[in-house]
């Protein structure tokens, strides 16, 4: 796999922008030799992270950096929206029981898709690091 140059994207909360970013990410990961199932997890999570940041956190865009590694990839999301840690909170570990708790499903997607995940608030920015491996 190619580990030389990080792949970077800037994505707004517009749905067409998100879908375009998903296709670019999918293409990059396929080209870099990341297994399909691992790439799919990263692509699905992109939508949820960007929507959270832009629709709920007030961010205008999310910066994404992708590092391809031997066993998969690491995706780093950064935005200047309000502080929000998707890895903590009541929906992070258990599935919502009610159909009215739809939002919690997306947080599960972020938490459970990644093999390793960290969140930090750095210089007024959210920084979410998700590692995807097979």
């Amino acid at each position: 796999m190619d580990t030389a140059v990080p792949f970077q994207l800037r994505v707004s909360g517009d749905t067409s922008d998100i879908v375009a970013a998903e296709k670019k990410l999918q293409g990059h990961l396929e080209e870099a030799g990341v297994p399909g199932i691992v790439a799919s997890r990263a692509v699905v999570v992109l939508e949820e992270v960007v929507l959270n940041a832009c629709r709920h956190g007030g961010a205008t865009e999310v910066e994404i950096e992708v590092l391809v590694e031997d066993r998969g990839c690491t995706v780093i999301f950064e935005d200047a929206g309000k502080a929000f840690d998707p890895l903590s909170g009541q929906f992070a570990e258990t599935a919502p029981a009610s159909m009215d708790d739809v939002g919690g499903r997306g947080l599960l997607l972020i938490r459970r898709s990644a093999t390793r995940s960290t969140y930090a608030r750095v210089e007024e920015r959210n920084r979410l690091v998700l590692e995807f491996t097979g």
């Binding site: 998100i18 699905v44 739809v102 499903r105 997306g106």
Partner: protein, 113 residues
């Protein structure tokens, strides 16, 4: 993203979705799907065999449909899910809310009809 509705029994309708249920697909589908489901007045089985991708907004649309049906005393089951989508559904524990079936016959068995 497209969908078709077929009445296949007096108390059962089949909804066939086709295309990517990504953020754009979910936006396109959301209102017409939920509106039609809301007026359908019967149990629904949803065929996802022609849907290669479902994102978080797409999951919300499916849950909204199931919720609308539940409020009118009806049920929804999903069948024909491709492996990549099945993994996403498993991650978000969708089956806690909407029954998933391997095929149409099994879906009919779940909702009745």
């Amino acid at each position: 993203m497209e969908f078709e509705v077929h009445d296949i029994a007096p108390d059962l309708a089949q909804v066939v979705l086709s295309g990517r249920l990504d953020a754009v697909g979910a936006e396109v589908l959301d209102l017409p799907f939920t509106a039609q489901i809301g007026h359908i007045g019967k149990n629904v089985i949803v065929d996802l065999s022609a849907v290669p991708f479902v994102g978080s907004l797409g999951i919300r649309v499916l849950i909204s449909g199931a919720r609308v049906l539940q409020r009118s005393g009806h049920r929804m089951a999903i069948y024909g899910v491709v492996p990549a989508v099945a993994e996403v559904f498993d991650i978000v524990a969708l089956e806690d809310l909407i029954p998933l079936a391997p095929d149409m016959a099994a879906a009919r068995g779940i909702v009745g009809g």
